[in-house]
């Protein structure tokens, strides 16, 4: 397991700190969005787009790095991330979502 703290993601109306966790799960490498903090001071639509945009970037990087799966937990991100292909992590395990990465 390794923790990677990204530098703050800063764009108009956005300042977010993200910590990723890379770990092995049954021989597959998983990239988990471990912690989030900061502020996104945007309108509802722009808020969702900003989140999706940053998550897409992280997916791309994780996929190229060899991660088979992207995961996120914490609050229920279904409304925001389901359109990107995220599905529930597992039954009875909170709001966790997962997505298989094409390059994993």
């Amino acid at each position: 397991m390794a923790i990677l703290s990204l530098p703050p993601i800063i764009r108009a109306g956005v300042r977010v700190n993200i910590t990723l966790e890379a770990y092995d799960d049954n021989g597959q490498h998983v990239c988990l969005i471990h912690t989030l903090s900061g502020r996104i001071e945007l309108g509802p639509k722009a808020w969702v787009e900003a989140v999706r945009d940053e998550v897409r970037k992280l997916e791309r990087i994780a996929g190229r790095a060899g991660c088979a799966e992207m995961r996120i937990e914490g609050r229920n991100w279904t409304r925001v991330l389901a359109p990107l292909g995220y599905v529930p992590w597992a039954e009875g395990e909170g709001f966790g979502l997962r997505k298989a990465l094409a390059h994993g």
Binding site: R11, L20, L36, S37, G38, I40, A65, N76
Partner: protein, 230 residues
């Protein structure tokens, strides 16, 4: 976000050695996305810069600054007692014309009567001038008090108006300085940060990784922030 954190220590033994390579690639990819020297600085937009230019242009309006400077000079002099009473240039000219008119009228009548230069001539002229000027001077003096008071009341407003160009220049300048400062400080050594994190990665080497995690569940903290956090 919660203010308190619990420091937890987790130990992981040597795992899939490939994970180390994946983490390296992940860090490299993140370092590329947020690469060394990549500036987070966002240059002021066209509208912002146009607004600055317009404000500075307006602040440099010579008609305004010249007008305010002139008004301050004029009203300042009046507030100090100048240009009042018989020192009012316009009133002085009016008074002079009145003197001439009265003198011309009185002297003309005495000249025609053959009494020009007589005592009655002088007395008549004096009375005529006194009568004409007395009321006028009294009126002028009374009005002068009002104008002096008005001028004194206007000075602070004129002073404030005179500060406007400088205030605008200062405000725009501060914004421009802040933008320049942000531009100068924008580049961040992200790669060094990520490398440092990588060096501390313990998963493949079997050492201990120490992370700080909040005491309250992440989702609670996030919900507590309302719309502030993704």
């Amino acid at each position: 976000m919660g203010s308190s954190t619990n420091k937890t220590t987790s130990t992981s033994g040597p795992s899939n050695p490939d994970l180390n390579a994946t983490v390296s690639k992940l860090a490299k990819g993140l370092g590329s996305e947020y690469r060394q020297g990549k500036s987070l600085y966002q240059a002021p937009g066209a509208n912002t810069q146009a607004g600055w230019a317009a404000q500075l242009g307006a602040a440099n309006n010579q008609d305004f600054t010249g007008g305010i400077a002139g008004a301050i000079g004029s009203y300042g002099n009046r507030a100090a007692g100048g240009e009042l009473g018989i020192n009012d240039p316009l009133y002085a000219a009016q008074r002079e014309r009145l003197n001439n008119d009265v003198s011309k009228s009185v002297m003309g009548s005495f000249n025609n009567s053959g009494l020009f230069g007589s005592d009655s001539n002088i007395k008549g002229l004096t009375e005529a001038l006194a009568g004409a000027q007395g009321g006028l001077d009294l009126q002028q003096r009374t009005e002068s008090y009002g104008r002096q008071s008005e001028a004194a009341n206007l000075l602070p407003q004129l002073f404030s108006a005179g500060q406007l160009p400088g205030s605008i220049q200062g405000s725009v300048g501060a914004s421009q300085d802040a933008a320049a400062n942000a531009q100068a400080n924008g580049p961040t050594d992200y790669l060094a940060k990520l490398t440092g994190i990588l060096n501390g990665t313990a998963s493949a080497s079997g050492t201990t990784t120490t992370t700080s995690t909040p005491t309250t569940p992440l989702w609670q903290q996030i919900l507590g922030l309302g719309v502030s956090i993704l």
